[in-house]
Symmetry: C2
Subunit: 219 residues, 2 copies
């Protein structure tokens, strides 16, 4: 607060609106990730951003608006990070590998984004949860396309089209749950996390495609 | 409501408290699963249960109390259903198989329980989300024990102890996400769902244990 007081008002006013808005959203994501939506206060967001509360209301609206815009920005960031990693010309397993690495790199680098997207957004409910659900559905569809493509390559078209969407839902759930676990284990690198999943899931899927099937042995 | 009016009051009063409480909780789970916590009304719960609102408050407390007790009861039911399916003398893969089948059978049979536990409880936040998180952690620990046991059998002690908890978190996330997907695909049986996961995850894990490793091929 004292820094704010010493800053010449002209300089503070001269910052472009886009920069101010970014400062506010950065602060909002930090405060929401620490306290959750319900306990987060506009006072703290104002203090962390170094922007007055009236200016926050003028630029970005209420706490609810701020939360919605935080989720939107972080979801876009996450999807862009993953898409930047995926190279569509590579075989399906390599696409998945690059996508997973980008995902885990993002979660490690932007812990607060992931916390807000995964842990907080669902606890608020309503429209926010619906937005997250829509994002998950898109992720599952993308992975399902990879699974079906891999199955079709091996001549398993119909069979993979039947199970592909279910397997993709399982894979996305596995990736998210491991990301959540990784928040408490920052010593494990994105490469190690992604290769655990590839070994767990992709090798199993490969076996399935090759006709090797797990069957109950007894009981 | 008209049935209630025609019922002789003596008979209504003679129902034991435990039966009344079960009726109320059954109604609460149904209404919460349909409307979510925030939109659910005590009026509707009272109507579905055929129990007056004052009696609900006397027996089980406020809407918040009712939601907490619903979650507690359904979580206990779910864990008991899974435990009843698991046979601890069987090899790890068969334990997992039976556990998964019991899980998917429960989700198919008690759709409303799973909806309240998985979709609704997190949207309310606070203590409820903490309770669900604790239940998930317990599930991950149980699966981690199976994974480590399977790894140790194959002489992979240390390596599986390192990755076991992460793999278990991935597996539990995969199982939950597939359960959520299955809510919209009731035509897929619990046996098929469980065998998808066994083939996806367990075969992959088996390969890993056998020393077969997925490695990036290029890029």
């Amino acid at each position: 607060m004292s820094d704010e007081d010493q800053r010449p008002p002209e300089r503070a006013r001269r910052l472009p609106r886009a920069v101010r808005e970014r400062q506010i959203l950065d602060a909002a994501v930090r405060v929401f990730s620490q306290h959750g939506y319900h306990s987060a206060s506009m006072d703290e967001i104002s203090e962390v951003a170094g922007v007055s509360k009236p200016m926050i209301y003028t630029y970005l609206g209420s706490k609810e608006d701020l939360f919605g815009k935080s989720i939107q920005r972080e979801a876009t960031r996450l999807l862009e990070a993953i898409q930047a990693g995926v190279q569509p010309d590579l075989p399906p397993d390599m696409q998945l590998w690059h996508g997973l690495r980008s995902f885990y790199r993002f979660v490690a680098e932007y812990r607060e984004s992931w916390t807000v997207l995964h842990r907080q957004a669902l606890t608020v409910g309503g429209g926010f949860a619906a937005e997250i659900t829509a994002m998950r559905t898109r992720a599952i569809e993308l992975v399902a396309a990879l699974v079906v493509a891999a199955g079709t390559r091996k001549g398993l078209g119909e069979q993979t089209e039947f199970s592909g969407p279910g397997l993709a839902a399982a894979l996305v759930g596995a990736a998210e749950s491991l990301a959540d676990w990784a928040l408490d284990h920052p010593e494990i690198s994105d490469g190690v996390l992604a290769s655990w999943l590839m070994n767990l899931v992709w090798l199993g899927f490969n076996d399935l495609v090759e006709g090797q099937v797990w069957k109950p042995s007894a009981g």
